[in-house]
């Protein structure tokens, strides 16, 4: 079988961490190849090597049988490889055409023709129609819906012509229907002779479109081969590695009193209300009004509120500040360290030292800057601080984004335990599966309106509510 791309024995270390340990990977024309693994498994690093963004410490990159050394992504692009990154790389203030010219590296270039020499005929024409649907060259990118923005990313990736497409977690920002459309499009791309690598940790979602799959764990290949004969459960076990199961705490007993209300949504003690929504439907604003970060218009809350913001490093913590300072940041008025206008830093540090143990935060000391902590430990720090105020209402926004399995379990467990202890918990996650697994009750926020989800609704029905389709 011919190969468009081969990675042979790739190793890469970041400091003391081996991100990739002698990983081999190959890609054939006409296939959709799933690259699976937990966060930190090395999936993105491997594809960054393939795209010339990272130089490997060892190993070879072979493109169409020719050993190649990419100095930067533009080399990779010229070899016919395009990459769609986790974060959009189009420039919101510019037009579609300008973004495509930029990607092509030439003003006025005829860009956006994702049909390299290998791709001709009806399949390629159909692919092009699908890609351009709802896109006009003069559109300003910031005005486009998410699905169209992502197709623009694909057009950009292929702007100089290419038949290899690497996609890093492309479904994370999409609603179920948009995911389905994307997968059809990728199938078309492969059908026209292209090759696709799909990086994801959400296996179930893409299982049906893959031809082959490679599973990474801890920087090593755990499995590679055709999907035929594999099951979602089997591959998940390979991906996660341990047989750990998420412990569930039953929220036994009846619900408590209504502790919070916002836009017609009432949240009672002892329940976890999950919010499902597509980016930009007003859920962010709703959570922040509820948490009192924005003026609490239309929101009413009984008792102390804790807020777990989505962005740990710009909103949850001040990375340059010590852990003690970050504790005081969230609890400036706490009587244990507040002395009139003064702060008793020793008292605060003593408490922070205790919290390190209580929440098993891996840090050498309370005086260390928060940026030295891993993402999971930063989130533990935020939870420790949030629970320190004995909140009756907890508002969490994408609380496990970017965390590994164990940190995710920690977060889920803490939220469930808080609810079991009588608190009202509201969780929004852009990952529908997370909302489904965590919530005792589900609502959808669509176009700034709160819609109750009927018990027993299917994923598709919830998805339809999320994109605002009337069922």
């Amino acid at each position: 079988m011919s190969r468009v791309l081969e990675l042979a024995g790739i190793s890469k270390r970041f400091g003391s961490v081996a991100a990739l340990d002698s990983v081999s990977f190959d890609l054939a024309p006409g296939e959709v190849h799933g690259l699976l693994g937990e966060n930190g498994a090395g999936k993105s690093t491997l594809m960054h090597v393939a795209f010339g963004m990272i130089a490997p410490d060892a190993g070879r990159v072979i493109v169409r049988g020719v050993p190649t050394r990419f100095r930067d992504p533009s080399d990779a692009k010229r070899s016919g490889i395009g990459m769609v990154h986790q974060h959009f790389t189009s420039i919101p203030e510019m037009t579609v055409a300008e973004n495509l010219w930029l990607a092509a590296g030439r003003y006025g270039a005829e860009a956006g023709r994702p049909d390299g020499s290998a791709m001709t005929g009806a399949a390629a024409a159909r692919l092009r129609r699908r890609l351009w649907e709802g896109l006009a060259p003069t559109d300003i990118v910031s005005s486009l819906p998410v699905g169209a923005k992502q197709r623009l990313e694909i057009l950009q990736a292929l702007a100089v012509g290419g038949d290899v497409l690497l996609l890093d977690e492309p479904t994370a920002v999409l609603a179920p229907q948009e995911v389905a459309e994307l997968l059809v499009l990728l199938r078309d791309f492969a059908g026209a002779g292209g090759a696709v690598v799909l990086i994801t940790h959400k296996l179930a979602e893409i299982f049906s479109v893959m031809d082959r799959v490679t599973v990474l764990r801890g920087g090593r290949v755990q499995f590679t081969g055709p999907v035929a004969g594999q099951t979602v459960i089997g591959l998940t076990a390979v991906m996660v590695g341990t047989a750990d199961r998420e412990a569930t705490i039953e929220t036994a007993g009846s619900l408590g009193p209504v502790l919070a209300q916002v836009d017609g949504l009432s949240i009672r003690g002892r329940e976890v209300v999950g919010i499902a929504a597509i980016e930009g439907n007003g859920q962010r604003d709703l959570l922040r009004r509820l948490a009192g970060v924005l003026p609490a218009i239309g929101a009413e809350v009984t008792g102390p509120v804790a807020f777990i913001p989505e962005d740990r490093s710009t909103e949850g913590l001040i990375p340059a500040f010590s852990l003690t300072e970050n504790l005081v940041l969230g609890l400036p008025g706490d009587q244990r360290w507040r002395r009139g206008p003064l702060i008793d830093w020793r008292a605060a540090e003593a408490r922070m030292d205790q919290l390190l143990g209580e929440f098993s935060i891996r840090a050498a000391g309370a005086q260390l800057p928060a940026r030295t902590l891993s993402g999971g430990n930063q989130q533990k720090m935020i939870f420790a601080r949030a629970l320190e105020a004995a909140p009756r209402v907890i508002v969490a926004e994408n609380p496990t984004r970017g965390l590994d399995v164990h940190a995710t379990w920690f977060v889920h467990e803490r939220l469930r335990r808080a609810a079991a202890g009588g608190a009202a918990v509201v969780v929004y996650s852009s990952d529908l599966d997370e909302v489904l697994s965590l919530a005792t009750r589900l609502v959808v926020v669509s176009r700034r309106r709160v819609l109750p989800v009927p018990a027993g609704a299917s994923r598709e029905e919830i998805g339809a509510m999320m994109i605002g389709a009337t069922s």
Binding site: F14, N39, R288, G292, E315, F321, L329, S374, I382
Partner: protein, 343 residues
């Protein structure tokens, strides 16, 4: 951090700055050794030179520098201290001319307070522009420096001009409004006041909730707002007003302690030099005290250099610029060198 490493960057900066000056002077055909010797004599040549030139010039640099540290800490870049200094000097002169019958115990505080209020007032416009119209304070404070220059020029040829109406300067302020001098020197009471202020600001920065708020807002405004529930706009407003008040106070100290009258070009660029002072001290009040002394020596030496070696005093701004750049590079290097968190 050891004492040595804490002072290393500033010392390196000072040595580099003087080296650049020496090289530049040589390249332009000046007698560099003679110029540097004159600079040293002007700053440290005698007890009188040290107290009456170096320390006297250190006072405004320390006081303005403390104010700049307050605003920079909160992430507000007030680079209009020069104008605020002038506004403070004008207000202090205006009050100082009319307190002749008062006791010094009342007159001096009144004049200093007037200066601080004058300086804070000069920041009111940038504050309003920032809050209501989102105009960057960098540009607005900078532009107001030139307005202040023109206003001083108007004052000393108009309402505040001396009664003889000959020179563009004010009458001397009342004796009661003048700061006492240390015997045998021209060093005034403003120096111990500056030292005390540095200590006070150090405590405010390290021990108070307000100081913590400044630091949080400056380091991460969104985290301060979301996780700290702080009013970011209010905190930066306070910081800007206080930094203006400090610069205005420095202007008042100059009038009541040194010149006793309002002149054109009262400040030889103290407002800009103080930025270097604050930055090289990394906004640390005690550091500002020492950096202020160092730059005071430089300013005093510059005067000596111009007098004895014929090198224009403006050359010292090359040293100051070099020191700012070195301070910036030291900070940038520290930022680049520190390990980022593992994902």
């Amino acid at each position: 951090m050891s004492v040595l490493s804490r002072f290393r960057a500033p010392l390196v900066a000072a040595v580099l700055g003087l080296t650049v000056l020496a090289l530049g002077l040589s390249a332009l055909g000046y007698d560099a050794p003679a110029a540097l010797a004159a600079l040293g004599r002007g700053a440290f040549g005698s007890w009188y030179a040290f107290t009456s030139a170096t320390l006297v010039r250190a006072v405004p640099l320390i006081v303005i520098g403390l104010g700049i540290a307050i605003s920079f800490r909160a992430g507000a870049l007030n680079i209009g201290a020069e104008g605020q200094f002038s506004a403070g000097a004008m207000a202090a002169t205006a009050v100082g001319l009319f307190v002749g019958r008062w006791s010094g115990l009342v007159a001096v505080p009144a004049v200093l307070l007037a200066g601080a209020i004058g300086g804070a007032t000069w920041v009111v416009v940038p504050v309003i522009l920032r809050r209501r119209y989102r105009v960057q304070e960098v540009i607005s404070t900078l532009l107001l420096n030139f307005v202040a220059d023109a206003l001083v020029s108007f004052m000393v040829q108009g309402p505040l001009q001396e009664s003889k109406r000959i020179y563009p300067q004010s009458d001397p302020i009342a004796i009661a409004a003048r700061l006492p001098l240390f015997p045998g020197t021209r060093l005034h009471l403003g120096f111990p006041l500056a030292v005390a202020l540095a200590g006070f600001v150090a405590i405010v920065f390290s021990r108070t909730i307000w100081g913590f708020r400044l630091k949080a807002v400056g380091a991460a405004p969104r985290a301060a707002e979301v996780s700290g529930r702080m009013d970011v706009a209010r905190t930066t407003t306070q910081a800007l007003l206080w930094s203006g008040a400090f610069a205005g106070l420095a202007g008042a100290l100059e009038v009541t302690g040194v010149t006793y009258a309002l002149f054109l070009n009262l400040s030889p660029g103290y407002g800009f030099t103080a930025i270097a002072v604050a930055l090289i001290a990394r906004l640390d009040p005690v550091g500002i005290l020492f950096a202020g002394l160092g730059f005071g020596a430089l300013e005093a030496g510059a005067a000596g250099m111009q007098r004895d070696a014929g090198v224009p005093a403006v050359a010292v701004s090359v040293v100051q610029a070099t020191i700012i750049v070195v301070a910036l590079l030291a900070v940038a290097r520290a930022r680049l060198a520190r390990p980022e968190a593992a994902a």
